[in-house]
């Protein structure tokens, strides 16, 4: 050191001050840039997700004048449900479309024309007639469902200026579509199938309802098992169990279990619940059991933290007036720890809701058309549905994948918001 000896305290402090402030500045800048980068990625994620997904909430429909010909639907005027259900509605819709293009007569051309329509168009018409048989014999202006390829063209996901051989829509079909558009017979309308249907190989008829119900049943099983078990375990370990090598071992294992890859739990579920216990494959019950195994450590750890956070003075007060240990826990400690426990539980549940890997192991990756009515019915789950759609070749499944992710994220956000709300609401009551 060549510098002269510091003259006074003021000088010594002043010399170091600049460096200290610079360090603080650097740290702040680093922190802010990290935050900015994180936010940018998040924004990009939401931008692409919503940009890809929002179109799935609408689908293309044609306005057609469908003549509900009595001779076709119910020639004997029985109005019996069976007869009405079996009638050839597809023919009626096709006729209505064909009527708009009278010059198309060749078989091949007609087939191409009819390909503009979704099989769902006939199903919708059947529902309508079954609901109101009085419609038979009249002509109805109906918005009928278009095929998913047409839908993609209308939404601009299939480019018109591609080579004809490179796209799924022929030039003629495009002409027909354009002429329908010119007559204002093409419109994007709300996609109710997306929210009410199960899996389907026709993208325009595919929806997330079945997967949502599957996820719901699964979470129900998970909650019913892991919350009481987790809370009881936490209470026992924290309040009653002696501190010794065994409880230390248990604690270490619980902490480790929280970090075990979820697919391992799936394998365990397959081996134990399905192969040994003989529970049904693809059932939300098994899914719920597996997710319980996964969620339990999370809930136990959160609950123990919540119990530790209750001040010892409350315990002493309860014991001091002669409460038994159980009374102390149930009357005083548990109510104070409950918000923390619930927060941990909801966060565990949110993780379980977003989990797909273990479900692949227990067969919940199946193609489920029907909506499950109990936890024992075969079902899929939301994240698995996302996985399945992401795997499908049709262009229309791309937007549905994004839309399903949006719905999944909305559920997760709602659950996390509930957790935050609970925490805010009951925080610091002592």
């Amino acid at each position: 050191m060549n510098s002269p000896a510091p003259r006074s305290l003021k000088d010594v402090v002043a010399r170091g001050l600049k460096r200290r402030y610079r360090n603080e500045q650097t740290f702040r800048l680093l922190g802010m840039s990290a935050l900015a980068a994180g936010l940018a990625f998040l924004a990009f994620f939401f931008y692409t997700l919503i940009g890809n997904g929002y179109t799935a909430f609408q689908q293309t429909r044609f306005l057609l004048d469908v003549e509900l010909d009595e001779d076709t639907i119910d020639p004997e005027e029985t109005r019996a449900g069976e007869v009405l259900a079996r009638a050839n509605y597809l023919g009626l819709v096709r006729e209505a479309l064909g009527g708009l293009f009278p010059d198309v007569t060749a078989r091949g051309d007609l087939r191409a024309l009819y390909a503009l329509l979704s099989p769902g168009a006939a199903l919708e018409l059947r529902e309508r007639v079954l609901a109101d048989p009085a419609l038979i014999g009249t002509t109805q202006r109906i918005w009928v469902l278009a095929d998913d390829d047409i839908d993609m063209v209308v939404k601009g996901h299939i480019e018109r200026d591609l080579e004809e051989s490179d796209r799924r829509i022929t030039d003629r079909q495009l002409q027909w579509l354009d002429s329908l558009e010119a007559e204002h017979r093409v419109e994007l309308r709300f996609n109710r199938y997306f929210f009410t249907a199960g899996a389907s190989s026709d993208p325009e008829l595919a929806g997330i309802w079945s997967a949502t119900v599957g996820s719901f049943f699964m979470l129900l099983v998970t909650l019913a098992l892991s919350f009481p078990l987790g809370v009881a375990t936490a209470i026992y370990l924290e309040e009653f169990a002696p501190r010794n090598r065994w409880t230390d071992l248990i604690e270490v294992n619980i902490n480790n279990l929280a970090a075990v890859p979820s697919i391992v739990f799936g394998l365990l579920g397959l081996a134990l619940f399905i192969n040994v216990f003989g529970l049904p494959r693809s059932a939300p019950l098994v899914g719920g059991l597996v997710l319980s195994l996964m969620t339990l450590p999370v809930i136990i750890i959160a609950s123990r933290a919540a119990l530790t956070a209750v001040p010892p003075s409350i315990r002493e007060a309860a014991l001091g007036v002669g409460a038994s240990k159980m009374q102390m826990v149930l009357h005083h400690v548990l109510p104070l720890a409950m918000p923390g426990m619930l927060t941990g539980t909801i966060i565990g549940m949110a993780r379980a809701l977003g989990e797909s890997a273990p479900l692949l192991m227990i067969g919940m990756v199946a193609f489920i058309v029907d909506v499950p009515s109990s936890p024992l019915d075969p079902a899929s789950a939301l994240p698995v549905q996302v996985f399945l759609w992401a795997d499908s070749p049709e262009r229309a499944f791309v937007e549905r994948t994004s839309a399903a992710i949006i719905v999944l994220l909305v559920f997760l956000l709602l659950m996390n918001a509930t957790a935050i709300l609970l925490r805010k609401r009951f925080e610091r009551r002592f």
Binding site: P242, E316, A318, L319, V321, G322, Q327
Partner: protein
């Protein structure tokens, strides 16, 4: 505090000498320094009798061979420097030390002739008979009413709502809190002021009608006015209960207690009438402490 501790260590070297000579147990003296409490640790009208009480926290010998009687209608103050074992001894009296896993208590403490550390002594029953007020006011985060009613409820002291109301009212009256909270019974007890909270805790303790009330520095978190109120209250309560109070304030000990016990490094050095101890301490350590030379 540092200098005080250093001093106290210096002083303690000189302690055993007069004690050892009176003890006259040549075999054990080398292994363990025996000592003898100065003054009469017995009391007429004793509710609790502690004989040869040792407490260990793990390997730490927290209090050694303490003998002390707790008498009815009397306030006994436990004084001494920090870490001297007075709170530890207090917590032995209702077995609050049970909650500390490493704590081990030997010796004998009798409540009305029953050993409270005996196998058949129920700790819940014991704590109903020996109530405790803590250093920091710790009302339950419940209403004022529920705070006081909690003890009677869990012990089944009230058969109906009316008698419970009565217990709550008399307890709050005795704690000198009734007039202040009579209109706020449903408000949370944690919303009261510090002094009110501590009186609420006293009301909660006497609602169970204990025989003995233990107070662990009940005024250390309170301002002088609230302290004065609590001290008046302690004076009134001694009509009905035996009261043991741990305090850091010698003035407080002099004001509220009839007997005083001086603890030093886990030993009960001297016990006697408060007036005697403060005017005419017989042990050098006691004298040093109360004259403010350390602690």
């Amino acid at each position: 505090m540092d200098s005080a501790d250093a001093k106290s260590k210096n002083v303690s070297v000189s302690v055993p000498k007069p004690d050892e000579s009176s003890q006259a147990k040549p075999g054990q003296a080398a292994a363990k320094k025996e000592y003898k409490t100065v003054g009469d640790y017995t009391a007429a009208n004793a509710v609790m009798e502690a004989r040869g009480v040792d407490v260990y926290y793990g390997d730490n010998h927290a209090i050694q061979k303490v003998n002390l009687d707790i008498a009815l209608n009397q306030v006994i103050a436990l004084i001494g420097p920090s870490g001297c074992g007075k709170s530890t001894f207090l917590r032995c009296l209702n077995r609050m030390n049970d909650t500390i896993e490493s704590a081990r208590v030997t010796g004998e403490i009798k409540l009305d002739g029953e050993d409270i550390y005996a196998r058949d002594m129920d700790v819940v029953m014991l704590r109903a008979r020996v109530g405790m007020v803590f250093q920091k006011p710790n009302p339950f985060p419940k209403s004022v009413y529920d705070n006081v009613a909690y003890g009677p409820r869990i012990h089944g002291l009230a058969t109906d709502r009316a008698s419970l109301d009565e217990i709550v009212q008399t307890s709050l009256e005795r704690a000198g809190l009734w007039s202040e909270v009579r209109d706020r019974l449903e408000e949370p007890g944690t919303g009261l002021s510090g002094g009110q909270q501590q009186r609420l805790c006293i009301a909660r303790t006497i609602a169970v009608s204990p025989e003995v009330i233990l107070m662990d520095e009940p005024c250390s978190a309170l301002d002088p006015i609230a302290t004065a109120r609590i001290e008046d209250l302690i004076d009134e309560l001694k009509q009905n209960y035996a009261i043991v109070i741990v305090t850091h304030s010698m003035q407080q000990a002099a004001r509220v207690s009839q007997r005083t016990a001086y603890f030093h490094l886990g030993k009960l050095i001297e016990v006697g009438d408060t007036d005697d101890i403060f005017t005419n301490p017989r042990h050098k350590l006691t004298e040093d402490y109360i004259t403010g030379r350390f602690g």
